[in-house]
Symmetry: C2
Subunit: 561 residues, 2 copies
């Protein structure tokens, strides 16, 4: 920590005043009614209805303002407490008064979200395994030097760990650099691996747009020295299979080639040392109109206006094999070896994609640039198409809501990747390269799309798999319940009960209906005396008697129906 | 960072000399022959055999020494580079020369390990779901204040993040405190949740004993206000089911009660403000003999010798319901309300455990204390029994090998937990408590046991699920391969091929045998002309002709056989 005690005290003093002001405003706001009072609800509908609607709108607006302000206050308070903690050491008060929240840009996953997420990940893993993928895992942090110099301008977004003595560590920023480190360290020259894990970016999260600082990546990569485009085309196929299996709407997979981009820049007259900067400007075309991107090129990056205009001609082109033909005949491009190589690569890739039945799903798009420095060949991006007519379309819901995806820009991008042939070599002491191509599925965005879909459909997702609830019809049966539960668990049946000694029967049956548990067993002394229990189908409420001995088999039979 | 530029330069200067010395010794070692030369291998066997064996032993010893020394050097170099990086900022050299390693105390999981791990976790999740568990997830870091004051002495092991502006964060130390924060923050008063995720402890890892700084925890907890011991007994049942389903050897689940421990300390004459310190001494009884623990109590913690001896009498006791009876009649204990309450709790727990069929699996053990501060009631620990006679027993392999488990002490402890009724209340602004009881499965230890078992059995675990390999019998067939692959993938069949245009048939078939792929399709012009391919069973090497149209169905039929 570079803060000295004095500096911290200074800061606390300065911020103290602001916090006091904000708190005062918070308290005055808190005195406002937050919801219609119970008296309000009891008013006769004819009189109250309209008044209520007006009140509610007003209240909602007030609440929104208040929430924004409270959020500001919370952040200030939390900052202040952190500063205090620095001074006071680790001893905490018995009952902390700090804001209960997750760190900025992060969130918890509740059971409902976990169920959805697990469903998505299972489907994606199925696709990865269909293509021979093997799983690996790496630590959540790396030596800082491993990440240094890999992310260009974005390096400033890396989370560092505090120097507590020993090695200097940083949180992983993606799963690609750790893969390259893993391959170089273990001298692995070929692998098809997938890796699903969280990565960390200290971005200024536009939380309203749903960009997170901790988010899942879901990567498949093919490493090895192979013939051109065979592995690359399979990665494109994998993107298509994932988007098909998740059924989240129409999509297009945009394709481009870094060598072609470089060749095009060269043909347009961009100085070579400006290629990466201009490339990162082109990368913004999915969010910004050409006029703005051109402005960045000319005003910020010092490009000649005529050069920018020549680039502008190219980046508006997209199409298929015929566009490749057209560009191969383009006098400016065919004079530049890099451009020709890139175009020939695209030609081969498009041919393989059509053999994989992807002709209608891919689009060669010269405006696709992708941000990361390490790409050297093919790049691609899977983009959800907007459905302008459809109400309640997930994409539309996202554009209006605050559940939008994590990685910048348009709502549509849900997968991306490309070839990076030099990254592993950066880690090898002798610079031995292992060519790689891979794809990253934007699962956070996909979760968001599906969450919006579910919210719209009002379908209640089950968050547990309980098959049978064991209930007591009257008091004094808890030991019997435990015996029956034990029998069911030992038979592999998913079962639960109330953890009360004498729960009410109605409460128990309501629990079953609320949690969509298909079967209930009702225990009663009279039946137990004959070695019998009641088996109830929760949905139909039909009951029948079953002997204890036949219970597991009968339950299995019912569940299979 | 508290290091100033001057201090860092100082350190670099000091360490520079050491590194130079170590490097010099490394280089001189590197000149030694590392393996028998090719001439050596070509020697006639009768003359060379014995010489070779001697040479090899010598070489192995040298290599071991060398490795140890190189490891030291690597650590120094890495430290030095880290210091340099601090001075030089983030700019990295084009080709880094730093040590390629994972951070101290962490490791990568290779595909083989991931396969094993996934198998273990799937089985555990099945048990959790059988008991109605729902999954949640929380961020990998928390506001530092969330963790402060929860772990007693162990707080020093918490990883902090660097202050990069904004909130002060720390890596989670376990999954229990984040659960408590989650429940308080969302005002949830009852849940059965499981959570499987990595946690972080900046322990000085005895790597040779396999203790890690990043390791998996696998937790199931029941939160809610319920009748005594019903949820607690179910957690014990879950431990038993997990250990049964994983089939890793005989085990015992030790049970004790924090209230009884406190009551016992009181009865023995320990001053109340010394309870936690004495409890943490008792916790060491699984690693250290009584004499040492007594010494710690008397010499470090200032306990009266006679008091320590009275404790010594109790902590050697273990048994079942009869021991509870005996202690309830104990004159010293029955005078202390805490002791009586703890014993009555144990009585009920043992009764429920016997209804769950666990009479032979549990043992009431007064030496069980468990480290964490937050337990308030029942505590338990699942321990693998040593199998002294059995050669190749996993436990034994671990004791000798360097693959031992992550959490201290004896090899045997593979699960633990207990009741913590006050933790959630520490987060609630009004102190509202949510009673909780839970269990954590020591999966790292279990992975280690199973890894040792697999290494001993020499069974090769498959790390991918590929069902069919698509091979070319001769040149020029890569487009045909892609067509067939596409047909298989679209039918949901797991298939792969060589990413070479013209691979050799032998190489392709060897790949199938090495990777235990059950089926191969061999394409040839002659067969393709008739719309036919050869389907080969890799194990038996039997081939038969199948039409392309029938291929997916035929493959499915073969796989089911």
């Amino acid at each position: 920590m570079s803060d000295t005690r004095e500096q911290i005290l200074e800061q606390i003093k300065e911020q103290g005043e602001l916090v006091r002001q904000l708190k005062a405003s918070k308290e005055s706001k808190e005195k406002l009614p937050l919801a219609p009072s119970s008296e309000g609800r009891a008013m006769s509908t004819s009189v109250g209805q309209q008044l209520k609607a007006q009140q509610q709108q007003q209240l909602q607006e007030q609440q929104q303002q208040q929430q924004q302000q409270m959020h500001k206050i919370d952040e200030e308070v939390s900052r202040l407490l952190a500063l205090k903690a620095k001074l006071g050491g680790d001893a905490a008060p018995a009952n902390q008064k700090f804001t209960l929240k997750t760190p900025k840009g992060t969130r918890d996953y509740a059971p409902q979200q976990m169920t959805l997420r697990q469903g998505v990940l299972d489907k994606i893993v199925q696709v990865f395994k269909r293509h021979g993928g093997e799983a690996i895992d790496t630590p959540v942090f790396e030596l800082k030097e491993v990440l240094t110099g890999k992310y260009g301008e974005d390096s400033k977004l890396i989370y560092d760990l505090k120097d507590q003595g020993g090695e200097i560590l940083s949180m992983r920023y993606d799963l690609t650099v750790p893969l390259a480190r893993y391959l170089a360290m273990n001298k692995i020259s070929s692998i098809k691996r997938y890796h699903i894990a969280k990565v960390y970016r200290r971005d200024n999260p536009a939380m309203t747009r749903g960009r997170y600082r901790e988010f899942y990546q879901c990567d498949f990569d093919i490493a090895g020295t192979y013939d051109p485009m065979l592995a690359d085309a399979e990665c494109v196929k994998i993107v298509a299979e994932v988007l098909d299996t998740l059924d989240i709407g129409d999509y297009v997979i945009k394709l481009n080639h870094r060598q072609l981009l470089d060749g095009m820049f060269e043909a347009c007259g961009v100085p070579p040392n400006n290629f990466r900067a201009i490339c990162s400007a082109v990368d913004k075309l999915d969010k910004s109109p050409w006029a703005e991107v051109r402005k960045e090129m000319v005003e910020e990056k010092g490009l000649d206006g005529a050069t920018a205009d020549r680039i502008g001609e190219y980046v508006r082109l997209s199409g298929g094999a015929e566009l490749v033909e057209q560009l191969l005949a383009d006098p400016k491009l065919k004079a530049v070896p890099n451009a020709v190589k890139g175009l020939e690569g695209m030609q081969l890739l498009l041919k393989y994609c059509s053999l994989f039945g992807l002709e209608q799903s891919v689009s060669f798009d010269l405006s696709l640039a992708r941000g990361l420095d390490y790409y050297t060949g093919v790049i691609y991006e899977g983009v959800l198409k907007a459905e302008p007519g459809a109400t309640g379309s997930p994409v539309k819901a996202l554009q209006n809501g605050d559940q939008a995806p994590e990685q910048g820009g348009t709502v549509g991008s849900v997968a991306g990747g490309g070839r990076y042939d030099n990254l592993v070599g950066m880690f090898d002491p002798r610079g031995k390269a292992v060519p790689c191509v891979g794809v990253s599925i934007g699962v956070e965005r996909i979760f968001s799309v599906l969450e919006a879909k579910f919210a719209a459909s009002k379908v209640k997702l089950r968050t547990n798999d309980v098959e049978v609830y064991v209930a007591s019809a009257h008091k004094g049966l808890h030991e019997q319940r435990l015996r029956v539960l034990n029998q069911l668990w030992d038979a592999g049946i998913k079962a639960e009960h109330s953890y009360k000694l004498n729960p009410k029967l109605l409460v128990q049956l309501q629990h079953c209906e609320e949690h969509q548990i298909p079967l209930a067993i009702v225990l009663g002394d009279a039946e137990l005396a004959q070695g019998i229990v009641k088996l109830r189908e929760v949905r139909t409420r039909q009951e029948s008697n079953v002997t204890l001995a036949e219970l597991p088999a009968e339950i299995r039979r019912r569940l299979q129906e």
